[in-house]
Symmetry: C2
Subunit: 450 residues, 2 copies
């Protein structure tokens, strides 16, 4: 009777004879020995087949085995003579389960990104992609654990939404039994309704943007978690975002050491993600940008755009793009929270700052190292009259928001929340240059398959 | 300094003066006392305001407060004199946070389902809907915990898929930057690719069906979890489904007692959900249906359809609808697994039974009490040649499946998996007659809002 085990449990079987089932990841051989690197999803083990132990016939099988052949290997588990915590298998027998038909497309040589993306279903087998997927899993799990352990109720928001509330240009549309439906860009309005029922809620699902942008931060389909809390104000919202983010990054550091090593991530940078995060007002951020501009101007290094225009000095009312976010966040070694943006930059549902009505009680959390905004949120307008004015000022179809206005008609309360993008968080924690590797099957402007 | 607490922690504050913030759920009053039922999402507490304690002015505020007014109540926590584990508040002061503007639409009188669904954003505030949402949360969490604790990696499948593999009639279509994209009906094929990388995986997200059917079991948008395991066969698949389902139902029984009580669920029926589940072959199930038919025939109670046709005797090759599933499952007090269906009833990717090539190695788990199929799955075809034949036989576009065929070209292994529908599982565990209340904002044939 053979004992079939997973590679990540080999440490419990030293001295025993066990069977591993998996795929050949790599191989090198000499006349007398073949070293098979076998992966099974839980890890990679080196299986050493000696001609004298297994005979010429089996040795030839091992020696000629192609990369990605699926196989069963039986052998004795041994601790690696030099590397602590590493185990290997002294092969007693082996058999091929599924041969490789033709040639495995992904060879050790360098492939272009498009080629790898076309073979995403196979590329996922690489050690590096395995590591990213496991970090992603840890992030998703720690997000859910955080809210579950803090008294939040999961309330899944709908994907199909009936109204194109803020213009259709970035929405995916579908025919819904004769009506038009749009794929959700955010579950927030629904989370607000649920928070009036359950107090503390979160939704967590895929969201969609039909933007024509092709940047390293954008996907057409991405996952977002959106907590919403009744009786919480902007200060509480920032405190929640901070505590939450410290927890998530801490969990990755604690449970995904191996994966971060494979990804060659500098974990010292992640260890600095501790509260309190600096909190700066939008106007302070503008000042930082102005100082940087002034420095470039005095040194004669102002940026000239492709149309010949020279950059102008940042001023109140400017929105931040990736470049501005990088300048602002580079002054800090941990995430920085920017709050109280001009209301003109924010959606209709933000509450105005009672101390300065030009400002919205919104906040963004910018990740360090140029990873930009990973959290955006704020306190919502809770007064019916103000919200009605906001809908009018933004020229939105009032009728579509009647149900949302109901939340201010029937026992309105101060409330706040935020959204965190999973893929950007994975890119940051893994130290990736592009979000396309942070999701198993990315959907981008020019990519809908496999 | 006031101590703000949530209702579910009142037991820790007996004798203390605390503040609760929430909404008025119900009220009754006499000349000297007002009994306010206050809900805050974590529970409901009775706050007793006495005229002599709080004075005429505040007493009038309490006495005239409308249902769903949001308020803050401060008072002393007392154990209920008669009911163990119940706590109440002796009101010292209270204040209105948000008044009710107009009249709250959902009064204690009976409303029709359409009316309630139109006001779903408010209906969610009811004790019963709270209970269902909390059971749903427990089910989602226990599903994830089960797989996370058993070595599975979460691999989110894409929502946008490039091909209408099995006809477009039940697919939602969207314009994807000039191409046609379809919303996923299942992540299985992607889970299979991921299982060849990570061994044991699951995807868990929303899936979509554009069916024109209007039944108590169908939603246009529903959540599905789909585990897939390399080196697992049909027997292993059935064992996994059983162990998994026992765990999920057990978690609900353990952690959602209060909610099941509110829903008046007969928990004895759920306590019987223990392994081993009966496993019957499709052909045995047909025999059960034939016997039931014969009984009806002999007693002269055969069903006459609306077109005048009389039902015919079930035979090999028939598919099961809701009625047949109810007949089969009603013979058992726990879920029953039906396996080895005619291959003609199953999708192209099922492996044929090596002992009877008419049969596919598929299985469905039917819930008791007429709740029907909640799990469907089976062993996948792992041989390239057979899968190619299946694609041809089902007249599917070969090109669209090249990537899927790659999984059989490069180290194919036996593998199996299944899908569990969340909403049907919630309906069953909560004892609901319709799936529409199992998801926060249901999307059905005639319902796209709010």
């Amino acid at each position: 009777m053979e004992t079939i085990v997973r590679i990540d449990t080999l440490r419990d079987h030293v001295g025993e004879t066990v069977t591993i089932r998996g795929w050949l990841y790599n191989k090198r051989s000499s006349k007398k020995l073949v070293f098979l690197e076998v992966r099974d999803g839980s890890g990679i083990v080196q299986a050493i087949a000696s001609r004298s132990d297994i005979g010429d016939e089996l040795f030839a099988v091992a020696d000629h085995m192609a990369q990605e052949t699926s196989l069963s290997v039986t052998g004795e588990v041994r601790a690696h003579p030099k590397q602590e915590g590493v185990f290997e298998l002294a092969v007693k027998s082996l058999s091929v389960i599924g041969a490789v038909i033709g040639e495995y497309p992904i060879s050790p040589k360098d492939h272009g990104t498009d080629f790898l993306m076309d073979h995403r279903h196979l590329w996922l087998r690489s050690r590096r992609q395995n590591a990213i997927l496991k970090v992603r899993h840890e992030i998703v799990k720690s997000i859910r654990d955080y809210f579950d352990n803090h008294g939040f109720t999961l309330v899944d928001a709908p994907i199909f939404t009936p109204n194109a509330c803020e213009g259709t240009s970035t929405l995916f549309e579908t025919d819904y039994h004769g009506d038009k439906a749009y794929l959700t860009q955010s579950g927030q309005l629904y989370s607000e309704a649920a928070a009036m029922s359950l107090g503390k809620v979160y939704c967590f699902g895929p969201t969609f943007r039909a933007e024509k942008s092709k940047t390293r931060r954008h996907l057409a389909e991405f996952w977002m978690v959106e907590p919403e809390v009744a009786f919480m104000d902007l200060d509480g919202d920032m405190a929640l975002a901070e505590d939450f983010l410290v927890y998530v990054v801490g969990r990755v550091l604690e449970n995904r050491k191996e994966e971060l090593k494979i990804l060659e991530r500098d974990t010292k940078l992640l260890e600095r993600v501790q509260g309190p995060f600096p909190r700066i007002r939008y106007e302070e951020a503008i000042k930082v940008l102005q100082d940087a501009y002034d420095l470039r101007k005095s040194s004669g290094t102002l940026v000239v755009q492709s149309d010949g225009a020279v950059e102008r000095r940042p001023e109140f009312g400017d929105d931040f793009g990736a470049d501005e976010e990088t300048v602002i966040s580079s002054a800090y070694d941990r995430p920085v929270i920017v709050h109280r943006y001009p209301a003109s930059l924010k959606a209709f549902y933000f509450k105005r700052d009672p101390e300065d009505s030009r400002l919205a009680l919104g906040m963004d959390v910018l990740a360090p190292e140029g990873y930009g905004e990973i959290i955006g949120g704020g306190q919502r307008e809770d007064l019916l009259e103000n919200l009605e004015k906001g809908i009018e000022a933004h020229k939105l179809p009032r009728e579509a928001f009647e149900w949302y206005l109901d939340l201010r008609r029937y026992g309105s309360v101060p409330h706040a929340g935020f959204g965190l993008g999973v893929e950007r968080t994975v890119a940051w924690t893994c130290g990736l240059g592009h979000v396309r590797e942070t999701i198993p099957f990315p959907r981008m402007l020019n990519r809908l398959g496999p």
